[in-house]
């Protein structure tokens, strides 16, 4: 359904307002019901551009961008769905709904990979809110005003940011603590501003967070990254928004200050980069001297076809962008619905990678952002008669683990690192301690140095129990 003109002003549709969208009446009752019920648990948001330009309404619900933005009944377990459906549509008991919803959410592994337990940095003995510092070189910053998006992805691993549970939300009102923390940490070279989507903010608000990073005392910060899906969900941000030109001038200012500005552009499917306005957005970003890097998770029902990745990476490179990552979908939220086996992820990656220009082979994957670090599946091989996954760390909590190969027994059903067991009769992977389990007792150095560093100075670390 092509429109003659694009929506010019961003206005979100939420659960309360989606019935106002022209396309709502095209949806069969059971799909509308699924949206109303599941959006009580998982965040739901979309906009007119996504609905007009990216979704093929003749192909719903299988259309990939429909699956990407509209919740599906199977995202909840059958019993959770039918129970919640009854509460929402029949009994309409708000208190009971809130209870049920909270229970479902807490069982969905919010903020996986130790984000709340191990990634929160400390300064003067206090946790710094709105920051994460997992890898030595890179600090993550979650500005309060950026903790929403132009549309929400159904699979989003940061879903707890959007569900009104304040105890699960990472955010910082302003950047003074970030600046103070960065001054204390000369080993940090990269700041990633993320959310949500920082480009939901107007340029004035965004500049308020970015400009303090350009001071001489922060010369050790080489790269400012902005994680965003506005490039796909609202490319008008860079082209026709009232302050688009101001935004591009801000990008130029960062570059002129001597830093690299990397826009980490999240495109899940080539449909998102096919529209003329999306392509114009890429060119305008790149023309400021900023880099645009492409990254996305591999998601069942949405982008399982290697040809889609080939088109995405090839188009991106042609327009001046740099393919960066194909991630494995994290083990959180409705991951049972979106997960693929690691073996399949590897096949898809290999097939796409082997079909693109060398210039697109900057992309790494399939990579799991797991508790100890970013683990990539390099291959499936047979060594001395044993079929194994060949793995390595692209990035890790401990720098000396990076690029160290290791091997796991091949398992066609494994979907995440914690499904894997070591190959060759080894008892544990090199990065695991004897007390390995989801809740570890580990030597904690965090409170003194600021960042959590797994203690490995002795074979049997003195356990200082932390509530993980």
């Amino acid at each position: 359904m092509a429109s003659d003109s694009l929506p010019a002003k961003f206005k979100p549709y939420t659960r309360q307002t989606i019935s106002q969208a022209p396309q709502w009446s095209l949806l069969p009752e059971e799909l509308r019901e699924a949206v109303q019920v599941v959006s009580r648990v998982m965040p739901f948001r979309t906009n007119q551009y996504v609905m007009d330009e990216l979704i093929d309404w003749n192909n719903v619900p299988d259309d990939p961008i429909y699956r990407l933005t509209f919740p599906h009944q199977d995202m909840l377990s059958p019993s959770d769905y039918s129970n919640l459906r009854d509460l929402v549509l029949v009994r309409k008991d708000e208190a009971a709904i809130e209870d049920a919803v909270r229970g479902i959410r807490l069982a969905m592994n919010p903020h996986p990979a130790g984000q709340m337990t191990h990634n929160v940095p400390f300064m003067n003995g206090q946790p710094v809110s709105g920051l994460q510092h997992k890898y030595k070189e890179t600090v993550l910053f979650f500005p309060s005003a950026g903790q929403t998006c132009h549309a929400y992805c159904t699979f989003c691993f940061r879903w707890p940011q959007f569900v009104g549970m304040d105890d699960l939300k990472f955010d910082a009102r302003e950047s003074s603590e970030l600046v103070a923390y960065l001054k204390l940490h000369p080993e940090v070279t990269d700041v990633l501003i993320t959310g949500g989507d920082p480009l939901i903010m107007n340029t004035r608000s965004l500049a308020g967070y970015i400009e303090p990073l350009l001071v001489p005392e922060l010369a050790h910060i080489q790269n400012i990254r902005i994680g965003t899906k506005s490039v796909a969900y609202w490319p008008q941000r860079f082209v026709t928004d009232k302050d688009s030109d101001d935004l591009l001038r801000l990008f130029e200012k960062v570059v002129a200050a001597g830093k690299n500005l990397a826009i980490m552009g999240h495109y899940n499917h080539p449909a998102e980069i096919r529209t003329p306005i999306a392509q114009r957005a890429v060119k305008r970003i790149v023309s400021t001297g900023a880099t645009l890097r492409l990254q996305a998770p591999l998601i069942r029902h949405i982008n399982e076809d290697p040809k889609g990745w080939v088109e995405l990476w090839t188009t991106g490179v042609r327009l001046g962008a740099i393919p960066y990552y194909m991630f494995v979908e994290r083990d959180t939220g409705p991951s049972h619905y979106f997960q693929l086996p690691l073996a399949r992820a590897y096949e898809i990656f290999q097939s796409a990678y082997s079909s693109v220009s060398g210039l697109a082979r900057t992309v790494r994957g399939p990579s799991m952002s797991a508790f100890p670090g970013k683990v990539v599946v390099d291959g499936i091989v047979e060594i001395a008669g044993e079929k194994v996954f060949a793995l390595q760390f692209l990035q890790a909590r401990k720098p000396e683990w990076v690029r160290r190969p290791f091997y796991a027994k091949f398992d066609p059903k494994a979907t995440w690192l914690n499904d894997l067991v070591p190959a060759f009769g080894e008892k544990k992977f090199f990065f695991e301690t004897d007390a390995d389990a989801p809740h570890k007792s580990l030597q904690v150095v965090t409170r003194h140095t600021g960042r959590y560093v797994p203690g490995a100075t002795s074979e049997t670390p003195q356990p200082l129990a932390i509530e993980a």
Binding site: P12, I200, S205
Partner: protein, 113 residues
């Protein structure tokens, strides 16, 4: 759906809310603030900032006595200028913050430029 500034703000006007707004949708009057519903993107970041809990989503107040503020925010937003920087609360904010039924005290003139 948009968020709405309601009665508690009148005569207090703390302005803690304005700095977190990512789309500059607050408008200022002499003793009250409003949110422009055309600019509001429902991010919800402003509501917890208000020391007197004056901000609610329009969905929350529909059907309550505060619902009149939905229309008030929409109409006053057209006449009032944008505010993006926090200011001091009004001098008698402390006295007024727990007062109910302040609507009659709402000053609707545009703030002098």
């Amino acid at each position: 759906m948009a968020y709405v500034v309601t009665e508690s703000c009148i005569q207090c006007r703390y302005t803690d809310c304005v700095e977190v707004c990512p789309t500059d949708c607050f408008r200022e009057g002499p003793n009250f603030l409003v949110i422009d519903p055309d600019e509001c993107i429902d991010c919800g970041v402003c509501a917890p900032e208000c020391p007197v809990d004056a901000i609610s989503s329009s969905e929350e107040i529909a059907g309550t006595e505060q619902h009149v503020f939905i229309e008030l925010n929409a109409s006053l937003a057209k006449a009032w200028p944008t505010i993006t920087t926090r200011q001091s609360p009004l001098p008698d904010a402390e006295e007024w913050k727990d007062v109910k039924s302040k609507l009659t005290h709402l000053a609707r003139d545009s703030v002098a430029g």
